[in-house]
Amino acid sequence: MIRQAFGKIGQTLVVLFIVSFASFGLLKLAPGDPIQIMLGSEYSPEAYAALSAELGLDQPFWTQYAQWATNFVRGDWGTSYVARTDIFTYGFTEALPVTLTLASFSLAFAILIGVPLGVLSAVKKDTIFDAGAAVFALTGTAFPSFLLGILLIWFFGVQLGWFPVMGYVSPWQDFWGGIYHMILPALTLSTYFIAMITRLTRATLVEVLAQPYIAAARARGEPGWRVIWVHGVRNIALPLVTILGLQLGTLLQGTVLTETVFNLPGIGQMLTSAVLGREYGVVQAGVMMTALLFITVNLLVDLSYPFLDPRLRDRK
């Protein structure tokens, strides 16, 4: 077990190194000069040289990377050129909570809506409900989230005036306000996942419901809801968690567009503005946080298997 844990940590470190190096290198290879962007065009060569020395951008690539990596490990993530704020504080305490809130609300929506819809279409297989859910799932998967976001904004925000169309309110400070502001963005981001989970639930459940032990349960006279929700749906947990772990990347990608459309100050917006402004330090921080999040979640998924499936518990 300990060896396994060390192995995992080692793997994680290697992945983080590769990710950080690749993003650092790509950003440097991309044309565009942060100093030109910062100084506008009315600058003198002296001002350019001074700023470039101040930011360490006149150093060779390897020195810059080594410098960045050493400081990063020490927890000194640097200062953003433009915002002049501490990147660690900005990333961890301001941007990350927003993205985590959005992602968890979206996941919650996806499960709370997707699973019952999937159960409904499995139980009412080949009926109008099933067909309806299939159409919904297809539309949901095919619909680009930014377009859906704008449609939701116009319908629920502008026409009906039910929900705010933008902005972030921390649910830790104002619980209901936070939820209220998060409904439209979370719905936008989760549509794809609702659709996916609906299909997954249906497929799994249809198979499970054909198993002999379900017939046995019915024969024992257990009520229909118990057969489905206790004996049937339980089997969805494993594929569901696996798929969600794998699709976390898609979810995080989706937050970039969703945050822009709904003006949420999260990691997505932080990354977009940093890439456009060639804010190397901020991009690195954003990429590393995303990578860490991805690795952590997949680790949790691995660890959760024994809890979800008793058959995996005693395996060495």
């Binding site: 506008g40 600058y43 433009v82 002049r84 301001e94 005036g161 169309v165 972030y168 100050p265």
Partner: protein, 535 residues
């Protein structure tokens, strides 16, 4: 011997006529009017109420007035700081009036004396006196790191603190651009910042601005919002009226519009042209906007083939159908430009420009004549670099390309990302590009930095000593008609040699909900909120 009437010159400098009204302001009236408010040092405490939320959809780089390059930042800075002078507008006239200064006198044509308002304090409680003014001007002129606006004070020789409320500025030459340079709005150089705050925050001043303005800076949350609160000790009696102001930082203008329509915000500091029709159709908001001080153009690289050929450049200049450009690229909202000097620069803008025969316009026959004189008579392939930037993105390039095809120029449209676009433009690595020059309300800044030989904005590398000479003469000429005629000669030269093909002058729009009362529109892209209240 001719006696120079400095008072008269000053009065003329203080009022630039705008629009159709032909009456010039009476002698010195501008000064009298402007000082009337300031002669009551006892500040009447205002009752502030209301929290205005307004979306800002453009880049805000810093709130340090001496370092920003963005008018979107000035919009906020100008609510926190004051300049020695300010721009006012009554619907007809753009004027440069004293702001922190109570009076402004000319001792001779090179020496300006400013008497400051008494008792004005910065938000940190330190006094705004002659020393503070000197500090700010020196910070722009020779501070470290260098301010991008330093050139505006290059002619300033000496700053003398006569007494705590009087400061005397001596220039090496008469300086016609001065009213623009010294105002706190588009000129930036004359914005007065708290010396104590600059010493305290250093390079971080732009995130912790401390001025004398109607609103105090509270916070700036990245990609989220900039918050201001009323300065109860503001020197203009009864102002500001609002208690709090939030500039909501948004990237997506259509979301900002949706937020406005659903009542979540009260306005937008900038309304992109493509959304104007929707705003017009929305009954609960008012659109503010006129043609402002700007021009757009297609720039050509004079340093390399094929556009080192003057006849080919002229062919391009005459081949652009400006009418179509206005309709296709600018949503029918702009006005054709014949030369760079734009309508709000009255005294310099020629109201009869369309019939004067000056400048550039569409004439395909003429374009073909020039094309026939060009050195290269085969089909010419050029690179037109474009990016999703500026007010209309890639629409200009897409509209221009077929027009160039008509004169045998095949423009390969190359879509690149804005940061690389800037880098390639600055390096002169292009054949064609389009750009919008947003100018301070004076012809100097309209023409000179952009087109002077080796100028920092002259990316096409056009080189014409005669043009430089005319602009230099004009910059020290205080008589408006003489100065205007010098700039017109310079413009004519520029238009004839055509390092650029003029396109349009653009309107700049803002939108405010009808709840917002008392907003004074100024055609310099300003959003001054001190007179605004929520009804």
């Amino acid at each position: 011997m001719t006696q120079i009437d400095h008072k008269k010159i000053l009065a003329e400098r203080l009022s630039a006529r705008l629009g159709r009204r032909a009456v010039l302001k009476g002698l010195g009236a501008g000064i009298v009017a402007a000082t009337a408010g300031g002669s009551f040092p006892a500040v009447a405490r205002a009752q502030q109420s209301g929290h205005l939320k307004i979306a800002s959809v453009k880049v805000i780089d810093t709130l340090d007035p001496h370092f920003t390059g963005f008018l979107s930042a000035i919009q906020i800075i100008n609510n926190i700081h004051n300049g020695l002078l300010k721009i006012t507008y009554d619907g007809d006239m753009v004027q440069f009036e004293p702001d922190l200064a109570e009076t402004w006198d000319l001792e001779d044509e090179r020496t300006h004396v400013f008497k400051l308002r008494e008792g004005v304090m910065f938000h940190d409680g330190t006094p705004c006196d002659a020393e503070a003014v000197k500090f700010s001007l020196l910070r722009v002129k020779e501070g470290e790191p260098a301010s991008p606006h330093a050139w505006k004070l290059a002619l300033l020789d000496e700053i003398e603190v006569v007494d705590p409320l009087t400061v005397k500025l001596k220039f090496s030459q008469p300086y016609a651009f001065l009213p623009v340079a010294l105002n706190g709005s588009t000129g930036r150089a004359g914005t007065i910042v708290s010396p104590a705050a600059v010493q305290k925050y250093g390079a971080d001043y732009g995130r912790n601005p401390v001025g004398t303005g109607p609103f105090k800076f509270v916070s700036w949350r990245e990609n989220d919002a900039i918050e201001l609160e009323a300065n109860p000790d503001y020197f203009e009696p009864g102002l500001p009226k609002l208690e709090k102001v939030t500039f909501v930082l948004m990237r997506e203008a259509s979301t900002a519009l949706a937020a406005l329509m659903s009542g979540q915000i009260h306005g937008m500091t900038d309304c992109p042209m493509q959304l104007v029709d929707q705003v017009d159709a929305f009954p609960n908001a008012t659109l503010y906007g006129e043609i402002e001080g700007n021009y757009t153009f297609v720039g050509m690289n004079c340093k390399r083939a094929p556009f080192d050929d003057i006849n080919l450049r002229r062919a391009v200049a005459w081949a652009l159908d400006r009418d179509t450009l206005v309709k296709q690229a600018y949503f029918g909202r702009a006005q054709q430009a014949y030369t760079p000097i734009s309508p709000p620069m009255t005294g310099y803008f020629d109201p009869d420009i369309a019939t004067s025969g000056r400048g550039q316009w569409f004439d395909l026959e003429k374009a073909k004549e020039f094309r026939a004189k060009a050195a290269n008579q085969g089909e010419i392939e050029v690179t037109y670099m474009m990016a999703e930037r500026g007010p209309v993105g890639t629409r200009v390039a897409q509209t221009v390309a077929p027009m160039l095809a008509q004169i045998g120029i095949k423009a390969n449209l190359e879509l690149i990302e804005p940061a690389s676009w800037v880098q390639r433009r600055n390096a002169g690595d292009f054949d064609l590009y389009d750009f919008e020059w947003v100018a301070d309300l004076d012809p100097e800044e309209t023409l000179y930095p952009e087109w002077k030989s080796d100028g920092s904005w002259n990316f096409g590398g056009w080189n014409q000593p005669e043009f430089d000479k005319l602009c230099e003469q004009a910059s020290v000429e205080l008589d408006i008609p003489t100065r205007a005629s010098l700039y017109h000669q310079a413009e004519d030269l520029l238009m004839d040699e055509a390092p650029c093909a003029m396109m349009v002058h653009m309107p700049i729009y803002k939108v405010l909900s009808n709840e917002v009362k008392g907003f004074n529109y100024i055609p310099a892209d300003l959003v001054n909120l001190h007179t605004v209240s929520l009804g």
